[in-house]
Assembly symmetry: C2
Homo-oligomer: 377 residues x 2
């Protein structure tokens, strides 16, 4: 078998089967494409069912399919190619989900970004009916991820997907759209400009043969690819049943980090994300920096935990803090009472109180001492 034989057999199988058909793809992984093609043709499966003229033509003349795709700027990337993203091979060891699964026989690609550049990439997915909050957060997060040199992968859908792609472009980085329809097509239609821009500067990818329309099955197959191509998946807003959660499930199945951006508990599009975090299927993230930490090798991207501003009291000695902590908030207390509370001698307490007054933290008023405005911060 030559590499060309293998490639042509894969094109033929791609035209005969559905994206992500686990039985078909597992057979190819096990027996190789040429043998599976022989089996398919021998069993006359084609004659029984294969009556769609376009698909039949593609299957019977893969060379022509490849040539026609090339004219449209599409290449067919298969296992063994230098460009093949080997992280997809993990799909061979992963059980199907909603009857989709398996390593694709190949991927149709349109655009300058090579698929082997997707090592370390991050999926940003979520609700099609996103809120402006969700879209803004997704865009910011994608911009930070892209600015750190990591490709942002999504599905070019309305809402979060679109915001993720746009954020990555705004961050000066690369972005890749994985479609459920053929990579020569545009879905949704109103995202033509976005998808063409991605094809010009990033890559538009599909497991479906050029010309094919999007169906529910193909969306499910596509979601597994988004999870399998990337190092981690971030879900920003997702209704309780949504494609984004399907992608998250695939990432879990592939043992890749799943991250969720929380939102108001009163917001329906955040419900699915909160459920993921609650069930510990996702780690809560609030920023691009936290996403980078999750998907990086240990210690590579350490996020400094927010600690709040340094306050004047932070600069005090232990003894000064002891006294300050004993000074009442509003109603003044005499020095002796403060000394007792602080557990210090009266003379020492007096000295410290004077220092605290100089620093504007305590003030002497009739009846004793109380906190000054600065210490009440």
């Amino acid at each position: 078998m030559t590499a060309l034989d293998d490639r042509l057999a894969r094109v033929a199988i791609n035209a005969l089967g559905e994206p992500g058909d686990p039985r078909l793809l597992d057979a190819v992984t096990q027996h190789g494409a040429p043998r599976v093609l022989d089996m398919l043709v021998g069993q006359r499966t084609i004659d029984d069912l294969q009556t769609d003229p376009e698909a039949r033509r593609s299957a019977s003349d893969p060379e022509r399919t490849l040539a026609e795709a090339a004219v449209q700027g599409l290449r067919f990337v298969v296992p063994g190619d230098e460009e093949w993203p080997s992280q997809l091979d993990d799909l061979a060891l992963t059980a199907p989900l909603q009857n989709r699964g398996g390593v694709p026989v190949g991927l149709w690609v349109r655009g300058p970004v090579r698929l082997d550049q997707l090592v370390g990439s991050v999926a940003v997915v979520g609700s099609r009916s996103a809120t402006t909050y969700g879209a803004d957060v997704a865009a910011d997060l994608a911009a930070d991820v892209a600015a750190a040199g990591r490709c942002v992968v999504s599905g070019a859908a309305y809402g979060i997907d679109q915001a993720g792609h746009r954020g990555a472009l705004a961050g000066g980085g690369t972005t890749v759209a994985v479609l459920a329809c053929g990579a020569d097509r545009v879905y949704p239609a109103s995202h033509r400009q976005l998808i063409e821009h991605i094809a010009a500067h990033g890559a538009v990818v599909s497991e479906a043969i050029p010309g094919w329309a999007p169906t529910q099955i193909r969306f499910l197959a596509r979601n597994r690819l988004i999870a399998a191509l990337t190092t981690g998946t971030v879900v920003v807003e997702a209704a309780v049943r949504s494609g984004a959660l399907n992608t998250a499930n695939w990432a879990t199945r592939l043992n890749r980090p799943v991250m969720g951006v929380p939102g108001p508990v009163t917001s329906a599009p955040s419900q699915g994300v909160h459920q993921l975090i609650r069930s510990q299927a996702a780690t809560l993230v609030t920023s691009g920096a936290e996403v980078l930490e999750e998907v990086s090798a240990a210690g590579e991207h350490l996020v400094e935990e927010p600690r709040g501003p340094v306050r004047p009291r932070d600069r005090l000695t232990t003894r000064q803090r002891q006294v300050l902590d004993a000074v009442p908030v509003v109603q003044a207390a005499p020095e002796a009472s403060i000394a007792r509370t602080a557990g210090l001698l009266l003379a020492d307490t007096r000295g410290v109180l004077a220092t605290l007054a100089e620093q504007g933290l305590a003030e002497q008023v009739p009846g004793g001492w109380r906190l000054a405005a600065l210490a009440r911060e």
Copy 2:
């Protein structure tokens, strides 16, 4: 030693020491109150430091302190009393935090709710500078918890504390305020009406002797009591450094569930909560029902996970779903192509398509079949 001796010794110690002084309280746990009082007096600690006239008078005449407190409607509840909330005894086994700790020598209580009724209670705490989102969520959540017969415990502060108390009252339940100042006092002053209402219908509790002012040390000591009195602590909005996180730390130390309500990642008051959830110090909760599940015995309060509305496609048979999943979203496909995608015989596919059309899920148009509006939901 009689029970009265013990009670009076505890009042005297209460007047001499600070709330939550771990060395003092551990000594009482170990040696008993009368012996510790003897030690304190013998070492003349009182003469050295005890120059605050009011405190000295309380320490030297505990009977009078009790009598005066009783006139104000305050009782002093000590270990061994029927009303003693035995969950506080866990503090004897818990290491100090910020130099506070230990089982209180007693608690001053004003109000009809007995402290032994706090078994199963829930703490609702959070930012003083809460957003309306946070306050609304805290109130709703407290109302649900209170309506389920569980007392809501908080600190009567501005913001989340106040919302928690008010929510519990609105839910027709009981609520308890634990103060850093004496239980006869009111802090903050503008919450007089709220605190008096709680004293009339719930209980106002303090470890500090009546008359004492709130200090930073007493807030820290108070936070440990909120965590120790309750079965679980819910944090709703908390700045990165806040008393609410101190309470959460105490709950963790006491091995009680800590829960956090998420919010927009763009909202500063939610930052501390997100950090708690990220570090797995808190479980994300979005409703009173989820709080009840966390603090209940396994299986007692099972939350049904939100599953979204039942959609027409949910009622389909497997075969009908297979066909429907193969129908294109927008651009119609011929029956043969749909049959191939679905992996079914053409004749079967035809029959199913007709059924789907009757149910308003698929529609026949020139060129084949596509999804109808109902199926695109």
